[in-house]
Amino acid sequence: MVFVLTAICAISALVLAYANKATRAAREYQLLKYVEEPSIREVLKGYDNDPIKDRVEMFIGRDNKGKPIRETIFPAKKNGKLIGMAYSTEGHGYHGTIEVMVGVDMNGTITGISIMQHSETPGLGARVVEPKFRDQFKGLKLSGDLNLSTEGGKIDGVSGATYSSKGVVSAVRKALELFPRAKKEVS
């Protein structure tokens, strides 16, 4: 009795481990395709490749447990020529982290940003997802301009949501600081 049940469970575990391994690449691709690609399309225009298929993993450091942190770069190409790239970074908002997808052209100028995930207050901090706020980032480079207007920059924060606005700005700055390395990695 015990033997039969153990054998059935063991065989089942083997089969499932195999199925998991066999479908892993396809599942990762689909997840990126349906979760990340809409954001990529929003921040990068005019590419004709499949950024998901051409994605590049970049090693950017280790966390405090010594595990490697990787950044996935989605390159955008037109007629085989690299025209830009998109990748996501995180910033601290008022409630937890805000994940931002940033599109950058080859000169390091922002082509657009898109908020992928956040848990900010509805009606206040959550308004960072509105185009009115997001579009201010377009055309900026990593400079003094890329700051909230209260700190001498060119970006007007969402009123009543300084922390959320700051979170997005810091995520975008982080992304642009990575840009020189990302550029080297994909080209």
């Binding site: 009795m1 039969v4 049940l5 059935i8 469970c9 089942s12 089969v15 499932l16 199925a19 998991n20 479908t23 396809a26 599942r27 689909q30 997840l31 395709k33 349906y34």
Partner: protein, 199 residues
């Protein structure tokens, strides 16, 4: 009963959600569109055929006392395979069906057929039984999904078929609509069979 009869009984005489009234949870929950009905039905059919096949092969090996546990392990393994496959190749459908794919494990039809049929019959009739029951389930879900989609959205398989000024009954896409629809189909089926019997 012949193999052909084992197959066809699932399509009318013992059609699962309407005659056996089993597996109602996915029947009511995912049938907001015909496409979802087909997806759910085919996923269930696959699990049903595979588990019937395997349980029928193992029917003399599995001890009586642990049979339910053994059946559930077999069924759950196939469900996980279906889930991984859908996630890898049919992601949008996987997103819509969501929690109802892992819940195929506890679908009464599957355990019911394993216990009532596959554990007592040889391989070929068990496959026929699983296939018939599964297709019956798929047909029922697609029918229910199509009716709800037509009345609730004016479309079937995403194609607009109702006239221009048609105002969709949005209640048909909500849970009460599923109960209303299921009730009407059950009434119709019972009426048809009672007329057949009196003749």
């Amino acid at each position: 009963m012949s193999v052909a009869q084992e197959f066809t009984k699932g399509l009318w005489k013992e059609i699962p959600p309407f005659r056996l009234v089993l597996g109602l949870c996915p029947t009511l929950a995912v049938t907001t569109a015909a496409k979802n009905g087909i997806g759910m039905g085919l996923a269930t059919t696959f699990v049903l055929v595979c588990s019937n096949l395997l349980i029928s092969i193992l029917r003399n090996v599995i001890p009586k006392k642990v049979r339910i546990a053994a059946y559930i392990v077999v069924i759950a393994s196939f469900v996980v395979i279906v889930e991984l496959t859908m996630q890898a190749y049919f992601y949008p459908l996987y997103k819509i069906l969501g929690i109802f794919i892992p819940l195929i494990v506890v679908n009464c039809i599957i355990l019911g057929r394993a216990e009532a049929f596959a554990s007592k019959n040889s391989v070929i009739p068990s496959i026929a039984d699983g296939l018939g029951m599964g297709l019956g389930f798929t047909l029922s879900l697609t029918l229910l999904g199509a009716i709800r989609e037509i009345l609730g959205n004016g479309t079937v398989f995403g194609i607009h078929i109702m006239w221009e000024s048609f105002k969709p009954f949005s209640i048909m896409l909500k849970p009460p609509g599923a109960f209303i629809c299921l009730g009407l189909i059950l009434t119709l089926m019972n009426w048809v069979s009672s007329r057949q019997r009196s003749h």
